[in-house]
């Protein structure tokens, strides 16, 4: 959908210093105002989807920066794009759309660079309530960052300088006279949409707009008018006077994450977020951005009502910057690794759907998850091997809670006993839960993720038994080996949609699985004895499920393919590659039961 077609959109012109700015408004004007500032070479259309979603709750304002889109350009261009003049523009827009209330500022790329200026200069104090920055550092902070690294060059610092220096190639290019303009008005301008699609997987739509060649040519002056001057003499007083939310895409090819080290010194009230995405997040991750912006703005608005200085402290768990506000679904969540995983994500501030056959246990997990930092958590009683039940669950989750950002297919059952004693019924049972459960999960929720097209992650709990043959666990190992291969195949397929897939191979972990493991060929009493005995052995090994949960969270953050967790799982993985014969030898041993 294009910005023009969004229902309820209102356009007006705001004049400032001889320039006419094209300003668009959405949403209820009595609500707090959120101003979105676009980057280079964009126009306000880059925000279409984010703006649409924000408009449900806020008064949203977008404007074409001078010289871009349908705003007029300064004459002459040289000297017409200084940060001081851009600040004039912003104040003119803010005064026009929200005369007596501070606005919430959101900037991407050059929009963020200029917004840093707005958020740190004296004359805007009281006009801005908050600032959400993405992919655009303050030129002053950047200047200090370079100076620090030049003045005390340790190998690491030199590496950081060189790294960012290489990523900034386009900045030098844009300082060349005339050539960039020619390129943009010629071949580059024509090819740009396709380049974006290929490099960034930016979905086609109303963006880039036909005005792109002009925007890009004019916008070159943003760099020429500001970059050299500011980097050479950065302001010493560039302290943010508003709360700042920093959203860092981890795959940004233009900006290194290191640029934001020590940003706390410049922005005392800082909330950090990281997003596994490339540069053009307003196009590729609109849902996540809209939800983070909304949450941040709402927190600050309610803090102002209560007179508190800042919203409640963010969750403190590991990677809270990455998972805050995301939706995580975990199967087998009534105990063991599943429950611990649900808790680990809850501590990181994620919303959690805890799924298990055991309704009471799932509800309990959800309840505890809410107590340790999850903004919302739900328990769902579903048998993962039941296709129809899983379909219903997928529909319900999508309708009521949203699209799942992280799916953890963890539910599984144990079956021990020799192949010849395992009945076909037992085989079916194990495959139904351990393999079909994962297939259903990946099919239903993976499909929703892929259709949304905004990335995500799937974690499948396999087992060290997936690559370690054993005479004691033929059915279980087979089901887990299938899960491992399924994960690897799916990973290849979903990579182009920015959906990561990880297989976790825990090893011997102290969970309840041993107490419910079936033993083929054993009568009830013998089975009870064996269950007790294996539980005791697993208890003696005493590897906590919490550590597996941490490994799962890390696997999602770093998008790891196969993660063996315990030392024995790692050793078996190593042997399976470099000494499979030894592993086969081990497989022949009878387990000490």
């Amino acid at each position: 959908m294009s910005l023009q077609d969004v229902p309820g959109i209102r356009e007006r012109r705001v004049s400032t210093g001889g320039i006419e700015l094209c300003v668009a408004e959405l949403g209820d004007e009595t609500r707090p105002t959120v101003v979105l500032v676009h980057g280079y070479p964009d126009s306000k259309e880059v925000w279409t989807e984010v703006a649409e979603q924000l408009a449900e709750q806020w008064h949203v304002v977008l404007y074409d920066v001078r010289g871009h889109g349908r705003s007029t350009a300064p004459t002459p261009l040289r000297g017409g794009f200084t940060l001081e003049k851009l600040t004039d523009d912003f104040l003119a827009v803010a005064d026009a759309v929200s005369p007596d209330r501070a606005v919430h500022l959101v900037g991407h790329d050059w929009g963020s660079v200029q917004s840093w200026e707005f958020a740190t200069v004296k004359r805007t104090e009281g006009r801005i309530a908050s600032f959400t920055s993405m992919s655009g550092p303050s030129l002053d902070h950047f200047g200090h960052w370079i100076k620090q690294r030049m003045s005390r060059p340790t190998p690491r610092r030199v590496g950081q300088l060189l790294g960012q220096g290489a990523k900034s190639w386009y900045v030098y290019m844009l300082h060349t006279p005339v050539l960039p303009e020619l390129a943009w008005r010629g071949p580059l301008g024509k090819r740009w949409p396709r380049i974006l699609q290929r490099l960034e997987s930016v979905p086609a739509g109303d963006y880039p707009t036909p005005s792109l060649p002009n925007d890009a040519a004019h916008g070159a002056w943003l760099y020429r008018d500001n970059v050299r001057a500011r980097l050479r003499r950065p302001r010493e007083d560039a302290f943010a006077h508003v709360p700042v939310q920093l959203i860092t895409p981890t795959g940004d090819i233009f900006l290194s994450e290191r640029l934001y080290d020590q940003l706390e010194l410049w922005a005392p009230q800082l909330v950090r977020r990281t997003l596994p995405a490339k540069h053009w997040v307003p196009r590729t991750r609109p849902d996540q951005l809209a939800s983070w912006i909304s949450e941040f703005v709402a927190g600050i608005e309610s803090a102002q009502v209560d007179g508190r200085p800042l919203p409640d402290p963010a969750p403190t768990g590991a990677h809270a910057d990455r998972f805050g506000g995301q939706l995580v679904l975990v199967t087998g969540a009534a105990g063991g690794i599943g429950r611990a995983t649900a808790f680990a994500f809850a501590e990181a501030g994620a919303r959690v759907v805890a799924v298990d056959r055991d309704a009471e246990g799932a509800a309990r997990t959800a309840e505890m998850a809410r107590l340790i930092g999850s903004p919302a958590a739900w328990g769902e009683a579903v048998d993962v091997s039941d296709e129809q039940a899983m379909e219903k669950l997928a529909e319900k989750v999508a309708a009521e809670y949203g699209i799942v950002d992280v799916l953890v297919n963890n539910a599984g059952i144990g079956l021990s006993g020799s192949f010849l004693e395992t009945t076909s019924e037992e085989w079916k049972n194990v495959l139904d839960v351990n393999l079909w459960g994962v297939i259903h999960g990946c099919r239903l929720f993976g499909k929703q993720m892929a259709e949304r097209g905004q990335g995500g992650h799937i974690v499948n709990t396999a087992s060290a038994a997936a690559y370690q043959p054993s005479r004691a666990l033929p059915a279980y190992s087979t089901s887990k080996a299938a899960v491992l291969m399924l994960s690897e195949c799916l990973r290849a397929e979903l990579a182009e949609r920015s959906i990561g897939v990880s297989a976790i191979c825990p090893g011997i972990v102290n969970t309840n699985i041993t107490a419910t493991t079936r033993f083929a060929g054993a009568d009830a009493a013998e089975e009870k004895r064996l269950q007790k005995r294996t539980s005791r052995l697993y208890g003696l090994r005493n590897y906590p499920p919490e550590k597996v949960a941490d490994a799962i969270v890390e696997a999602v953050v770093h998008n790891r393919a196969v993660v063996p967790v315990t030392p024995e799982a790692r050793a078996a993985r190593f042997l399976s590659r470099f000494g499979p014969g030894a592993l086969r030898g081990i497989a022949r041993l009878k387990p000490p039961l």
Binding site: G335, F343, E347, R364, E367, M368, L371, I372
Partner: protein, 283 residues
């Protein structure tokens, strides 16, 4: 030392009741004085001084205090980590006070969980402890083996989503026997434990070893016997990701045939029991 108690009205129980109440009064008094910045060492000293002023001269063990994630025994590997540290109390932090004074020859061993300010998670843990108090009493009356009861308690904790933190105690005990202690003018301490009480425990262990029972209630095979008549200081301890809660109080086991009289909690008028009753009224 003392002969097994016959029933709840036995006069010597009065002495135990008195010292247990004294200890809980101390815990409540000290808890009320805790404020941000107080260290574990200071809290332990406050308990010691409070009890000394009221006539306590000997200890089963010296008072402990655990703050913050130390209430869940996060990272406890060696017994020295039980001793109070310079950890400072902060708003919202859970704490546990644990003391075992000897008073007029009677011993108590109590644990008091609290929290500085609001902490819904801690409230939840405390509320969930109620089920454990009921479970332990029921199964002791059924004369199950101590090891079995231990495993049932652990299972309940896991079902509730918690970790069993009394596993971190020496021998992983959930309870130990306590008894009368001879009052001596001089009673030195070893690693914070009173030698007189330790002597009682060791002699119990020796006698018990011969007769096939143990004064320690643990997950190991030496606890694979029905509860021995006498007084047991029972301390189920829940842990959940950096928050811990426990209670500790005396369970009386007798050799009476009447199930009601065969086992009972020494005193039902204790802070945690009152708290559960109030919650039920509020609900």
């Amino acid at each position: 030392m003392a002969s097994p108690v016959k029933d709840a009205t036995a006069p010597e129980l009065q002495g135990f009741r008195e010292v247990q109440r004294l200890a809980y009064a101390c815990a409540e008094a000290v808890a009320a004085r805790l404020e941000p910045g107080v260290t574990e060492r200071e809290a332990a000293r406050m308990q010691r001084e409070w009890l000394r002023e009221r006539g306590v001269r000997d200890w089963f063990h010296l008072p402990f205090a655990w703050f913050g994630d130390r209430t869940a025994f996060a990272g406890f590997k060696v017994p020295l980590q039980f001793f109070p540290t310079n950890r400072k109390l902060e708003p919202g932090m859970p704490f546990i006070l644990d003391m075992a004074p000897v008073y007029k020859g009677f011993t108590a061993d109590i644990g008091y969980s609290g929290c500085l300010g609001l902490n819904p998670l801690h409230d939840k843990l405390l509320a969930d402890l109620e089920a454990h108090r009921a479970l332990i009493l029921r199964e002791v009356r059924e004369r199950r083996s101590l090891r079995e009861i231990y495993e049932d308690v652990e299972r309940l904790m896991i079902r509730q989503g918690y970790a069993n933190r009394h596993r971190a105690y020496p021998f992983g005990v959930i309870a130990h026997k306590i008894d009368r202690v001879a009052e001596r003018r001089w009673s030195p301490r070893v690693f914070g434990f009173g030698t007189q009480s330790l002597k009682g425990l060791v002699s119990d262990a020796l006698h018990g070893h011969r007769d096939g029972w143990s004064p320690l209630w643990s997950p190991y095979s030496f606890s694979d016997h029905p509860p021995q008549p006498g007084l047991w200081a029972v301390e189920p301890h829940l842990g959940f990701r950096g928050t811990g809660a426990k209670f500790e109080e005396i369970l009386v086991v007798t050799d009476s045939k009447d199930p009601e009289q065969s086992a009972f909690w020494l005193d039902d008028d204790l802070p945690h029991v009152r708290r559960w009753a109030e919650e039920r009224v509020a609900a």
